[in-house]
Each structure stands twice: as structure tokens, then as C-alpha cells.
Amino acid sequence: MTLTEKAENIVAEFSLFGDWMDKYAYLIELGEESDPLPEDLKTKQNLISGCQSQLWLVAEYRDGKVFFRTDSDAIITKGIARVLTKVLDESTPSEIIECDLAFLDQIGLREHLSPTRANGLNSMVKQMKLYALVFKTKYENAG
């Protein structure tokens, strides 16, 4: 599945919710079912400080794709991070670099990614793109 197709799936999923309560209940569910990061990966290096909630991001490059894992001490932050990884995970570095995240507007979560929010999600997206750029430079531009 391409990144665009994954984004379309998420938009379709969220369009089922009648009101914001259902949407947040779903985010909480996503946060709760998202695998926690092992403690040894919750390092300072992987921490994206958001002032109010802590957020950790780990990225790996395998077979031309980037794999992300996230965790947070706040469930809603963790849920939104899960939404982002659902779309960005297992994509090529180029797809991630070019992704415009317009799907967040469609599912009404863009406000949570404002740089003025204290949850670290905005910095997390920047960090994800930075990882993609590093992987692309390191593994794909060599030849």
C-alpha cells in the first residue's frame, strides 16, 4: 500500500465517527492498544520533549522502507502518534519526505500538531521526516 492509500484509509475510518467523543474514544483505544516501547528504548536520545507529555520515537530502515515505533505517557498523544505511524510507517523515505499530512485536516486532528501545542507531535513529524532524509541520503544516494 502506498502512503497515499494508507492516508485515504485513515480518512475513511475517521469519517465513521459521528461526534468528537467517538473520535477521542477511538484515539484512546489506539493509544491503549499501541505496543509500548521497551524501557531501554525510552532514552533521552529518542525523547521528543513536549513540555506536558513525553513522546518517544524510534526509526529503522529495512528493505527500502522506514519503520517507526512511538510511545507517550499521555494516551491521546500516543493515539495520535499511532495515527501518524499508521500512515507513515513502512513507507519509502521519499514518500515520507514528500508527504504533506493533508489527511490530518480531513480527520480534524491538525490542531494537535500545531507548533504551539505542548504535546511534541509537531516536533515528532519533523523528526520523522528528518529520519527519512537521513536514511535516503545514507542508503539510497550512495551509488
Partner: protein
């Protein structure tokens, strides 16, 4: 007859709006409270009809601006019951007032090996300036410990104060958990040792009457925006006998008497501490905020807030997952809680969706949070315009939040 809360609410334009489709319930008054129309109108009036730079201007507008500003100084003097109007210094807020004090008092009176005392309940604004000053001067910072109920340990304070102590800094009301500190006792003990006392009144001025002479504090600081006034204006009060011995904090225009290439003589009090063009619009807004408080009556404000606060406490005590932080002997303005197992960011996010504004996080008081073993709390704080119905809606919303995370 006292004014009805319904009528008082009608004086605040911002309160009549919906947030995420729900009527706004504003319970973040400890961070900043909302402004009545008369304060907003006063600022508009100033810039519409009176604006000119103050002092030394010969023309009409400069004269009326200066007069309005100096009248405010007298009104603040009365509001605090200070002995002299030149003891009232305009700053941009409590933080600047405390930085002025730490810098200037530090320069005049603090040297290597001297001691400075702060309480463990302080906001970073009344902690970091003293910590930095001590590091710079080679002085020693001592902290009055907190007790499990959220009150300060006065016995420990009596043991730590000595002939080496130069100044004691305590807030009148804790912003993080709402403790009202026994400042009269603290001032009495300090003065017995000949030590100056600074009271941070940021969280107190909108809740009860202040009388700096009766209190006998040496310095008192607060902000306009936490007492229905505008942001960007604050007060630094100091006893004249101290202010006269303290050097200026900032230098520049307004605060000088004579300047040549080689020398400068500083202006007298209060201008010595007011370098640069002051925030005249803000000063006049503060003047109007004082009038607003006096029209309603500060006792009436305090009574109403206490009634709401005590009811909130009572209702919160019945909810299983809620843990109220601290049980101080006297509390004002705010209640801090944690919901066991639910992150404060999650709680505040859902409450926001329900139109309810509360503060979440460490409230710029990380040492307090560390003492209670939490990394943040939800803080509910009250003002004269809050209603019983809003409190009931908040408590109901909190139960709904708990339901969502269970």
C-alpha cells in the same frame, strides 16, 4: 446590596462565547483572569484620546497622560495601603518585579557566604532569580521545606534563619496548590532576626485585601493581569528605607537626573526604578481593574470564590480516582488534582473539548511537583464570575473523562 454574579458576568465580554460548540467555562484564573469591559474600554480610551509620552512633556496630551499615570500610582498606594506613593514602582509584571528586587537588593546587600531563603512552594519566578543571584554572588540558597499537607514547615524555617540571612522570599498564596502561607508569622520571625521579607502576591491580590503596612513586609510584588487588569503591567512595592539604598535595575531614559560622558546622577524614587517609557495604557487598565475590584468589594469576591472552592473540594472528594494535592490549613483561589492513572494532558484535552479551560502541567513550580511525586496536575482556579452551575458542569465533565479512560 451586593451585585449579582449574573450581572458581574455580563461585564465580561469574553465569557459569552462557545468553545468547540460548548459554552465556555473558564477555570484557569490562576494563570490569568478575564477583563471586565471597563478595563478594556479604558485602554481603548487612552489610545483613542490621551496617548502621549509621559513626564517632561509640556504639551496638553503629555500632561494628562502623566497625571493619569501618577493618579494610578496613588490608587495603587491606597490599594496596598502603602505609606508613600513613591514606594510604588511600575513594572511589566511579577516576574520583572522579582528580577528587579533580586538584582538591586543583591547588588546592595548580598555578598559571598550570605544566605537567601525561599519557600519550597514558590513559582519559578520567585525561585530562579534567587538561585541565579546566589550562584553569582557565592551566596547560599536555603529552601523552607513543604509538609505533606501542603503547608510550609515553620519550625524548619526558624532553624534555618540566622544572622547570615539577608532576605526571605515567600508567596502569599501558592500558585501550584493554593496554600495560603502564614506570612504574618514568617515576617515576624524574620524581623526578629533583622531580615528583610519579600512577599510574592501574584496569587493573592485578587482574593483578599492587602495592607502592606499592617503586614509589615519589606517588599511586595504582583501582576495586573491576575486581578482583572491587562497583561504587561505589574507592581513592585518596597519600603522607602530599602528602596533608597538600592541601585537602579535598568538604566536609560526617565531614571536619570543628570548625564555627562563621565558621570550620571540618578533620579529620585520612584523614577530611579522606571527606566524607559512606561506602559501607560497598561497602568490605566490596572487603575480601572482596581476600581472594578473596589466596586464589587474584595471581601465579596473572596467569599464567592471560597464558596465555589469549598463546594468543588467537597464534590471532588467523592470521586474515587481523584487525588487532591495537599490539604493546607487555609486555601485560596485554586485546587490542584491528579487523576490516578490518567495523564493530566489527556484530562485537559478532553475537558477542552467540553468547553472547559483548566491548567495542566507543572505550573512553573517543578520543585513543588517533585515534592508531591507527580510530574503535573490539573489545576482548577476561581474568579468572581464563576458560577455554581459551572462547577457542577466541570465535576460532571471530570466524571465523563474518567469514564472514557477506564
Amino acid at each position: 446590596m451586593s451585585l449579582s454574579i449574573e450581572y458581574i458576568r455580563s461585564l465580561f465580554p469574553i465569557l459569552h462565547q462557545t468553545v468547540h460548540g460548548k459554552p465556555l467555562i473558564y477555570l484557569d484564573n490562576g494563570a490569568t483572569n478575564q477583563k471586565p469591559k471597563q478595563v478594556i474600554d479604558r485602554i481603548v480610551q487612552y489610545y483613542s484620546a490621551e496617548n502621549a509620552n509621559v513626564h517632561r512633556g509640556v504639551h496638553y496630551l503629555s500632561a494628562i497622560s502623566t497625571e493619569a499615570m501618577e493618579n494610578t500610582r496613588k490608587n495603587v498606594q491606597q490599594f496596598l495601603n502603602a505609606a508613600f506613593d513613591e514606594e510604588i514602582i511600575f513594572t511589566k509584571g511579577t516576574t520583572e518585579s522579582i528580577n528587579l528586587l533580586a538584582h538591586s537588593f543583591g547588588k546592595a546587600f548580598i555578598g559571598k557566604g550570605d544566605e537567601v531563603i525561599v519557600s519550597g512552594l514558590e513559582h519559578h519566578a520567585n525561585f530562579v532569580p534567587w538561585q541565579q543571584l546566589c550562584q553569582e554572588k557565592g551566596a547560599i540558597l536555603k529552601v523552607i521545606p513543604i509538609q505533606p499537607d501542603g503547608d510550609l514547615d515553620l519550625e524548619a524555617f526558624e532553624e534555618m534563619i540566622s544572622s547570615k540571612t539577608k532576605i526571605v522570599n515567600v508567596n502569599q498564596v501558592s500558585n501550584a496548590i493554593g496554600t495560603v502561607n502564614p506570612i504574618e508569622k514568617i515576617i515576624e520571625i524574620s524581623h526578629k532576626h533583622g531580615v528583610a521579607v519579600h512577599i510574592d502576591g501574584a496569587q493573592a491580590v485578587s482574593h483578599f485585601a492587602i495592607d502592606v503596612q499592617k503586614m509589615d513586609c519589606d517588599f511586595y510584588t504582583f501582576s495586573g493581569h491576575k486581578m482583572y487588569g491587562p497583561m504587561g503591567i505589574g507592581i513592585f512595592y518596597g519600603k522607602k528605607e530599602y528602596l533608597e539604598k538600592m541601585p537602579p535595575y535598568q538604566t536609560g531614559g526617565e531614571m536619570i537626573e543628570y548625564v555627562s560622558v563621565d558621570e550620571v546622577t540618578f533620579n529620585q524614587l520612584p523614577y530611579k526604578f522606571e527606566a524607559g517609557t512606561p506602559n501607560v495604557g497598561g497602568i490605566l487598565g490596572l487603575d480601572e481593574a482596581i476600581r472594578f475590584i473596589q466596586n464589587i468589594g474584595i471581601e465579596r469576591i473572596g467569599e464567592h470564590e471560597n464558596m465555589l472552592m469549598n463546594d468543588t473540594l467537597k464534590q471532588l472528594e467523592t470521586i474515587d480516582l481523584v487525588k487532591i494535592i495537599g490539604k493546607p490549613k487555609q486555601r485560596a483561589g485554586a485546587i490542584s488534582i491528579v487523576l490516578n492513572g490518567i495523564h493530566h494532558y489527556d484530562v485537559a484535552t478532553i475537558l477542552d473539548q467540553l468547553g472547559i479551560a483548566v491548567r495542566s502541567g507543572h505550573h512553573c513550580a517543578q520543585p513543588v511537583m517533585r515534592y508531591f511525586g507527580v510530574d503535573g496536575t490539573i489545576r482548577v482556579s476561581f474568579a468572581i464570575y464563576n458560577t455554581q452551575e459551572e462547577i457542577d458542569t466541570f465535576v460532571h465533565a471530570l466524571k465523563r473523562v474518567i469514564g472514557m479512560f477506564r
